[in-house]
Amino acid sequence: MPALRIENLRKSYGAMPVLKGIDLSVEQGDVVAVIGRSGSGKSTMLRCINGLEPFESGSIEVAGHKVSTATPALRDLRKEVGMVFQSYNLFPHLSVSENITLAPRVVLKLPASEMAGLVKDVLGRVGLAEKANAYPDELSGGQQQRVAIARSLAMKPKVMLFDEVTSALDPELTGEVLKTIAELAKAGMTMVLVTHEMGFARRVATHTVFMNEGRVWEQGPSEQIFADPQTPELKSFVAPDLK
């Protein structure tokens, strides 16, 4: 069973159609990069997957859950689907370890005794073990984003969604975040990343989806997409990055 299946997804903002019939299938262990121009609908599609955006028609099934508007079902889904945002969205009034342990404690109801180990584990995976007691405003953008990733990981998700997570970072800080994501990919996490980082998509993603004007314009194995784009739109989109 695919980790994520989207069928004929349609969404409009008022009278303006944004997603015009998306079909997408992601298997477990796949790392899918979603690329495209601003306004192509990539972030919107991603946000539909965990229910942050409602949609009019079509269906989405992720980690065995169907996406609907019913709140209890949605919360169950979100326990297994993690999301990392462009603006990190760490909780400023909580320390790093409190940010990480909040949802495991109150949503998954994990016992307090497990928390220390959990924090050590996820912070270790993102390379920030020593920052457990720091507060978000003491960290750089790249560090905050890695904490955000750790926070999502603490819920032990089956699928992780990344919404342009390096776009708000200074170039020097992007590298550390991409490295962390690459390691997660190697460890077998199923991921969907909306990203502008073409080089990263080509190297790390197993598949790449090119979106244009609210549709999936081209998709396939990453190497093939970048080396041999078929449609003129994709050709001009990746042209500057041909290496």
């Binding site: 942050l52 945002f85 990190y88």
Partner: protein, 218 residues
């Protein structure tokens, strides 16, 4: 008999000041409790509740406090029971404070960026959990400066209760003036006493507001 303005006069005014402070604190507590309930109800309640609370706030904010005071004062005696001016003062100031505090605190809740709500959603937190762990802690922090700022307004507005005969600082000044015929001394002292209470609060409020905006985080 005309008394001269002396130390005894100042002591008399200080009694009034005590009542001013007492009334202010009571207003803040009662207005605060109701205001918080209204603020949460207005931000997060069902639509009919939002409408009722919003209407209440708009109507109270469009009425002079003095008129609210008169309405309470005469309204209470209309109910047939005798209430001393103190009761009318507390009730009308509470109605007033509730409307403003509810508005201020709702503003604080709504100034929390959408992205915080989304992050909490993405972590599968429930509605009450979101409020308790993520939104309200942050809103309460942002609310500190404005809330202290409104306390200054409350203290000044207690002066209006003098006009229904409640003996707080301003009324004490009026009474003293009638006996000493030294309005300059009397009311300058009264003004100075208000200033001594309000200025530190104003200053503290500004400090709290500055601290909030400097420490803005994601």
């Amino acid at each position: 008999m005309i008394q001269s303005f002396g130390w005894q006069s100042v002591q008399f005014l200080m009694m009034g000041l005590l009542w001013t402070v007492g009334l202010s604190v009571m207003t803040f507590i009662s207005g605060g409790v109701l205001g918080l309930a209204f603020a949460v109800g207005r931000s997060l309640g069902p639509r009919w509740l939002k409408f009722i609370i919003a209407s209440y706030i708009q109507l109270v904010q469009a009425t002079p406090l003095l008129i609210l005071l008169f309405l309470c004062f005469y309204g209470l005696s209309f109910l047939g029971l005798y209430f001393p001016p103190f009761a009318a003062a507390v009730i009308s100031l509470t109605i007033y404070a509730t409307a403003f505090l509810a508005d201020i605190w709702r503003g604080c809740i709504e100034s929390i960026p959408r992205t915080q709500w989304e992050a909490a959603d993405a972590l599968a937190l429930s509605g009450p959990q979101k409020l308790r762990y993520v939104i309200l802690p942050q809103a309460l922090r942002i609310a500190q400066g404005p809330t202290v700022g409104f306390m200054v307004q409350i203290v000044k507005n207690t002066s209006v209760t003098a006009l229904i005969g409640f003996v707080e600082l301003t009324r004490a000044g009026q009474l003293l003036n009638n006996v000493t015929f030294q309005p300059f001394h009397v009311f300058m002292t009264v003004a100075a006493m208000y200033f001594l209470v309000c200025f530190p609060l104003s200053w503290w409020s500004e400090k709290l507001k500055e601290r909030k905006s400097a420490g803005a985080a994601h």
